[in-house]
Amino acid sequence: MKKNKLLITLILLITSVFIYGQQTISGKVTTSDNEPLPGVNIIIKGTSVGVTSDFDGLYSIKNVASTDILVFSYISYKTIEKKVGNLKILNVVLESDTQLLDDIVIIGYGTSKKSDLTGSVSSISSKDFKRQPLTRVEDALQSRAAGVSVIRNTGAPGGNIKIRIRGSNSINGNNDPLVVIDGVVGGELSSLNPNDIQSIDVLKDASASAIYGSRGANGVVLVTTKKGKSGKPQVNVNYFTSISKVPKKINLLSPTEFATLAGITVQGEGADYQDEYFKTAITNNMQVSASGKEGKLNYFLSGNLVDQEGIIINTGFKRYAIRSNLNTDLTDKLSIGLNIYGSKEEAHNLVLGGARSSSDLRGGILGVLAFNPALPVRDADGNYNLQSSYGSILVNPIAVMNERDGNLVEDRLNATLNMSYDISDKLNFTVLAGAITRNSNDEVYQGIPAGSSIINPNASYSSVSSNNYQLSNILTWTKKFSETTTLKLTGIYELQSSDLKTNRFSANGYVISGLSEAFYLNELAGSVTAGSNLSKSSLESYVGRAELNVNDNLLVTGTFRIDQSSRFRSGNRTGYFPSISTAYNLGNLILKEDSFFTGIKVRAGYGETGNQNVPPYSTFSSANPGNNYWFNGSAINIGLGNASLVDPNLTWETTKQFNAGIDFNLVNGRVNLSVDWFKKNTIDLLLDKTVPQYLGGGIVRTNAGEVQNKGLDVSISASVVDSENFKWDTALTLSTVKNKVVDLDGAEQILLRPLIFGAQANFYSIKEGQPLGNFYGYTYTGPDASGVATYNPELGIIGNGTPTFNWGFNSTLTYKSFDLNFLIRGVHGFDILNATRGAISLAGGDVTVPTSADILNPDSPTSGTNQVISTRYLENGSFIRLSNLSLGYTLPNLNGLNFKVTLSAQNLFTITSYKGYDPEVSSTNAGDDTAPSFDFGALPNPRTFTLGIDINL
C-alpha cells in the first residue's frame, strides 16, 4: 500500500505539472452489498493517470476536467465509466461480474475460459448453493448440474451418497466419479466442509475427462477450494440449527389387531415400535472463515463443526474440520501455494455407510416394523422384552439399538503443495504434490447383539490406514499468434501410489452381560478372532494436451493419456486414452448485433476413458484364511477356504464416448441454454461371473461384455427479472439416460442379488438388450379362493430400478433485503422393490405373523409363500421433491457487520405414489449399481427445518 501511495503521489506530481485549472473529485467505491472496495483502479479515460481506492474504498483524484471520464475497474467486477461533469463527490457501486468470475472453468491440469470449452463441463460455484444450508458437499451438486445424478441413498447422517454422471457404465466395477480436490486425485466429497468450496466443475464427456485417462470413465468432479482475495480481510461466521423428523409412518396393525391375528393377548398396552425407534433429531452446524491478502500472502482459513443427530435413536454424526489455504507470488515468476485440510468425522452407530440400520440385515427398521406390537418394549420389571415368537423372531430392535455403541472415527489430512514457475513468457512449469492420509477406527460394542438369538455382548473393531500420494509435473507452453489466436500445449508426467492397511478383530461372548458401552472391556470376551489386510497400488502416467483457439471462433482440444496400472499384470497394464473435441462459435458469423441470440456455440467431441477399479491383487488367487473349525468343541483349528478363481489376463474396462452439444446465449446473456447429447459404450467390462457351485462356486472377475448409455443433458438458466429491487434468477436442469446391456459375452442373462443380501435366490437380472437394474422375480396373480397367495410359476423380468429421467428446478427471488430460494427436483422412470412392505405383509422369512395393516384388506392373501421378489411388492418409484425452500433476510449494515437470517426447510414434501418411507433410499450399497432401488428396511431421508445466521465482517 505504501509503495502504491508513493507511486501515485509521484504520478500525480508529474501529471499536475501538465494539467492545471481543474477540479478534485473524491468518493467511495462500494460493492452492491454496500461493502467498501479497496484497491479499485480509477483512471482518467484515455490517459495513464489514476489512483486506487484505499482500505475503506475511498479515493480522491485531483486535476480532473469536467469533460473527463473516470474508469473504475477491479478484477472480477464490471468495469464502469462515469462522466465527471461538475461533481465533487462521486460514489460508485461496482457490480460483481459473475459472468467474468464464472468464466474460468477448471478442466483438469489447468483452466479454460468457459467460452473456450470444447467438451461438456458443468460448473457450480459457491453462490449457487449458498442459500441452502449444507452439511454435505454432495447436496450442492444435487440437481444443479445436468447429467449429474445425486441420490441420497440413506437418511443416516454421515451415510453414503450416490453420485452418477451420465448413468452407470460398469456392472461390477465402481461407478463413482473421480473426485479431484485442488488437483489431487482421490479425495472424498463427504469429508469436505461445503463452505470451503469455491467451485465444483464436473467433466461429463470423455473429451473432457480423458485427461484423467484410466480413472475418468465415470466422469470427474473437480473441486476448487477458496483462496484469499486482495482487499479488506473478510470474516464470515455461519451458524445453523435444524430439527429433523422421519417424513411419514408406515401403517401397521394396532396391538389389538395384531394380537387377534396371532391368537395372543396384548401385554400392557403393547407398543408403537416406530415411535420408539424414530425421534426428532437436532443438528448444529458452525462455520467460521477468514480470508484476505497480507503483503504477498493470500490466505483462506476456515473451521467447521457439524453435530448432527440421526432420526433413529442413538445415532449421530459429527465433523470437525479446519483448512488453511495459502498462496503467494514469491517473485514475478514463481508462485507457491499450500492447502492443508484436516478433518475428523465421528459417526455414531452408522452401519455399512447407512445402507442398513442394524448389523443384522433383517433387523433395524425391518425389525421395528415386524416386531410384535402386542409386546411392550419392556416388561413390568423394566427389563427388555427381548424376543417374541409372533411377528419378527429377531431380538427387540429397540433394545439392540439402545445397547449399541458403535463409533466410526475417521481422521483425514489432505495436503497439496503447488509450485508454479514461469520459465519464459510462453513456458510454465508446475509441480503439484499431494498427499491424502486417512485413518479410521470403527469400534462397535453390542450390549444386546442383533440377530435371532439372545446372546452375550460382543465387540468388533476395524481400522483403516490409507495413504495416497500424487506427484504431477506439468509443463505448459502458450503461444499467442494474434490477439485472438492461441495455441496451448500441456505435457504432464504423473505418479500416483496408494497403500491401504486394515486390521480388525471381533470379540464374542462377553462373559458378563448387562454392561453398557463396554467396548474397551473386550478382554471379557470368550473368543477373539483377528484379521488384517494390506493392498498397494500405483499408477504412472504420461499426458499431452493441445488447445487451439483460432480467432475465438474455432476451438480444438486434443488429449492423449498413457496410464500404466499396477493392478493388471505386465502385458495388460498399459492403457491408451485419446480424445479430440472441437467447438465453433457461430455467433460472430450468423448473428446480427441486435439479434435475440447473443451467441451460439456448437461442440462435438470423442474420447476414450478407462476404469481400473478392481482391488489390488485381483489377478492372483489366494486360499482364504478364516475357515477355522473346532474338532474338539473348544479349541480352534486354523482352516483355509477354497482358492478363489481369478483371470490373470484382467485388464482395463474402456468407455468410448461421443458428445455433441450446443450452447445458446440469449437476450444479452440473460438466458443461457445448453443441450448435450451423448452416447457412450463401455467395453471389456470388469464383470463378475457367478461360477456354478459344482465348478467351485463364488465369482470370477473377468473382462466381458458391453454396456451403452445414451442421453440428453439440458440446462437452462435465466435472469428472469433484474431490476434494482427485485431479482429473479432461475435454473432448470434436465437429464435423461437410457441404459442398455449390449453384450454379455455369450451369457444370455446374469442373475445376481445385492452384495449385502445373502438370500437364496437371485433377483436382479442383467440381460442383453435390457437396462441394468432389472428386477427378476415372480408375477403375483392374487390370492386364490382360500386366501393362498399365487404366482405365475415363470420367473422373469418384472421391473427396473434405475431412473431414466432426472430434473431440478432452482429459483432465487430477491426483493430488497429478502431472498427466497427453492429447489424442486424430480426423479422418474423407475421401480422400487418394496421388500420392507413385502417382509411384513405375509408370514415368511423371519416374520412369523405379518404386522402390516394391509393384511386386513379383503384382497390380501392370508397364507401361501410370501414371494417378496414379486410384482406384488413392486412399486413405481418416481417422485418430485421440494428439496429446499429457504427464506432469507439481510439486516441493514450495522457498524460494518452484515447479518443475514435464513429460515429453511429441506425435503418439505414429496409427491410420489411409493408406499414406503422414502423413494430415494435403497438398502443396497450406494456402489451397487446392478441392484438399485431395493427397499429392505432402508433408512428414510428426514424432513428438516433449519434456522441459520450468516454474519460477515
Binding site: T331, S566, F631, N632, G639, V691, P692, G697, L751, P793
Partner: protein, 516 residues
C-alpha cells in the same frame, strides 16, 4: 530493491531446483504387484500343516450349512417330522408335502455346502503329490478328503438325485448330471480309498466320529451298499456287501459302542462321554460367534409356540402314536421317553408336553422331540444355537444296517439278530426280538424307524424301499399343516420332485446344463 529481488529470485530458484530434483528422484513407480504379503498362493501350500489347514477348512464348509435344518431339507418328506403350518417354514412344508419346485426356499444349503466340501477335497486330493512330510499324517488327511467327498456326494445324491460329478479342483468345463450308477461308483471308490488311508481310531479327538476313522469309511460303505440295493438303482446284490462292511465295523478295532441311553448323547454335558458317533458334527459356540459356530437345528426351534418355540421341526401325529404303541408293546418306553418331551416345559405358557393333543391352540398340537429340544432341556431350551452334537451316523445305525442287510441278503446269521437286539435292548426291551416277531429285515427296518426318529434318516429309508407314497397316504387326519392348508402330501411317485429335491434355481441360472 532491485538487488533484493534478485537475491530472492536466486534463493527461491535454488530451493525450487532442489525440490524438483528430489521429486524426480523419488519418481519411479513399481508397477509389479507383490501379493505374497497378503495372499496364500494355493500352489505354495506344500507342507503337512498347510494340508491340515485345507482339510480343516473343508469341515468348516460342511459345518456352515449343516448347522441349519435346511441342509436336511429332503428329510422333511419323511413321516417322522413335520413343520409349522405358517411362519417362515414354507420350504420345509413343501418338502413335507413333496411339492418342491426349483424356486422352493431352503434348497440351496445342502447343495452349496456339499460342493464347497467337494471342491476342497478335490483340491487336497489333486495336490497330494506336492505335499512333503510325514506320510502317515498325509495319508490320514487325504483319507479324510476322500471320506468327505464321498459323504458329500452321498448327501447330494440322496437329496437331489442325479448331480454333476466333479472331481477336479478349479475345473471350468460344464458337466452334465451324472447317472446314479456313476455317482454311486464314485462314492464307493472314494470310500474304499478312505478306508485304506484312514487310521483305525482317529488320534487326538475327544469323541469317536468327530473325525472319520477307517471304521467310519466302512460304515458309510455299508450304508452306501444298503442304498445301492434299493431305489433308485435297486442292485440287490449289494445287500451282502452292506452286511459284510457293517460286520467289519462291528468286529473291527474301531472301539464304537452304544451309549447307555440316547438321551444323554443329545445333551451338551455328555456330548463327548460316549463312543457311539461314527461321524459327528461338533459345535463350539464359545469358539467364535454363537450364531456362526453353534448347532442351529436344535433347541428352542423344536418347541411349540405356546412353549415359546418356533415349531421348525416337530413330530408327526401318526408317527408318534405308532411309536408309543410299539414302545408299550415291545417294552421300549425308555427310548420313547428319551425321544419325546413328555413333561411340563418351563417356558411360555408352561404346557405339559405329553398333553400336546389337548393344547388350546390347534397350531400347537403336535409332539416335540427331545432329541431336538435337548436331552437336558435346561441346557438348550432357550437357545437357537447351541453345542449339541449332530450325528450324521451313529453306531446304532451300523448295527441295524448289519441286521437289515443280512436279512435282505437272505442269510441272516445269529450275530445279525444280536446286532438288532443290542439296539432293541438299549431301547429298554427286556425280551429279544426273534423270528416270531417277524423277519429280521423288516424288524430291523422298523427298529431304524424308532431308533433314528427325528434324525433326518427316515425319509431315505422310505425312498430306498419305495414306501414313501404309502406312508404319506396314511398321515393322521390331525396333521396340522394338512388341516390348515386343506390338502395333504403328494403321493404321486412319478412326479418330478417326489423323491428328490430339485437342484435350486440359483444353480440352474448359471448352469443350465443341469436342467436335464
Amino acid at each position: 530493491m532491485i538487488q533484493n529481488k534478485k537475491n530472492n529470485n536466486f534463493k527461491w530458484g535454488k530451493i525450487y531446483t532442489i525440490l524438483f530434483t528430489m521429486f524426480t528422484i523419488f519418481s519411479c513407480a513399481n508397477l509389479d504387484e507383490d501379493p505374497t504379503a497378503v495372499n496364500l498362493n494355493p500352489s505354495s501350500l506344500t507342507s503337512v500343516s498347510a494340508l491340515e489347514s485345507l482339510v480343516t477348512g473343508m469341515y468348516r464348509n460342511l459345518f456352515n450349512d449343516a448347522k441349519w435344518s435346511g441342509y436336511f431339507i429332503n428329510a422333511y418328506g419323511g413321516d417322522d417330522i413335520s413343520t409349522h403350518r405358517e411362519s417362515n417354514k414354507v420350504g420345509f412344508r413343501e418338502s413335507d408335502w413333496r411339492t418342491q419346485s426349483v424356486a422352493s426356499e431352503r434348497t440351496i444349503d445342502a447343495y452349496r455346502s456339499s460342493y464347497l466340501v467337494i471342491n476342497a477335497a478335490n483340491n487336497a486330493i489333486n495336490t497330494k503329490e506336492n505335499i512333503n512330510g510325514d506320510k502317515a499324517v498325509i495319508d490320514r488327511l487325504i483319507g479324510e478328503a476322500y471320506f468327505l467327498r464321498a459323504f458329500s456326494y452321498f448327501h447330494l445324491t440322496r437329496t437331489y438325485g442325479r448331480v454333476a460329478l466333479q472331481l477336479v479342483a478349479g475345473a471350468t468345463q460344464p458337466l452334465p448330471r451324472a447317472s446314479f450308477e456313476d455317482i454311486y461308483a464314485q462314492i464307493e471308490s472314494d470310500l474304499l480309498e478312505a478306508e485304506k488311508l484312514l487310521p483305525d481310531v482317529y488320534p487326538g479327538i475327544p469323541t469317536s466320529g468327530a473325525r472319520p476313522s477307517k471304521g467310519a469309511a466302512k460304515a458309510y460303505l455299508a450304508k452306501l451298499y444298503l442304498h445301492w440295493a434299493g431305489y433308485p438303482i435297486k442292485e440287490a446284490s449289494k445287500y451282502s456287501l452292506a452286511a459284510a462292511k457293517a460286520k467289519e465295523v462291528i468286529n473291527g478295532p474301531y472301539s464304537y459302542s452304544l451309549a447307555p441311553n440316547i438321551r444323554s448323547i443329545f445333551t451338551v454335558a455328555d456330548r463327548f462321554k460316549h463312543r457311539e458317533g461314527v461321524f459327528t458334527m461338533v459345535s463350539c459356540i464359545e469358539c467364535f460367534n454363537l450364531g456362526v459356530s453353534g448347532n442351529r437345528t436344535t433347541g428352542r426351534l423344536g418347541l411349540t409356540p405356546n412353549a415359546g418355540g418356533w415349531n421348525e421341526t416337530y413330530g408327526e401325529v401318526a408317527f408318534y402314536d405308532d411309536f408309543k404303541a410299539a414302545a408299550i408293546a415291545e417294552g421300549t418306553m425308555k427310548r420313547f421317553e428319551d425321544t419325546w418331551l413328555n413333561e411340563v416345559i418351563p417356558r411360555g405358557t408352561k404346557p405339559d408336553a405329553s398333553n400336546w393333543k389337548n393344547f388350546p391352540n390347534v397350531a400347537d398340537r403336535h409332539p416335540m422331540y427331545r432329541k431336538i429340544v435337548g436331552g437336558n432341556y435346561a441346557e438348550t431350551v432357550n437357545t437357537t444355537s447351541n453345542n449339541m452334537n449332530r450325528y450324521f451316523m451313529r453306531y446304532a445305525e451300523v448295527l441295524l444296517i448289519y441286521a437289515e442287510a443280512s436279512g435282505r441278503a437272505g442269510a441272516p446269521a445269529a450275530d445279525a439278530w444280536a446286532a438288532l437286539n443290542e439296539v432293541h435292548a438299549r431301547a429298554g426291551a427286556t425280551l429279544p426280538l426273534t423270528n416270531a416277531n417277524g423277519s429280521l429285515e423288516e424288524l430291523a427296518f422298523t427298529e431304524r424307524k424308532w431308533e433314528l426318529a427325528g434324525e433326518y434318516e427316515r425319509m431315505y429309508d422310505l425312498i430306498r424301499m419305495e414306501r414313501l407314497a404309502n406312508v404319506l397316504a396314511n398321515r393322521s387326519p390331525l396333521e396340522d399343516i394338512d388341516v390348515w392348508a386343506g390338502h395333504g402330501a403328494s403321493t404321486n411317485t412319478s412326479a418330478d420332485n417326489f423323491y428328490f429335491t430339485p437342484i435350486p434355481q440359483a444353480e440352474i441360472d448359471v448352469a443350465p446344463e443341469l436342467i436335464n
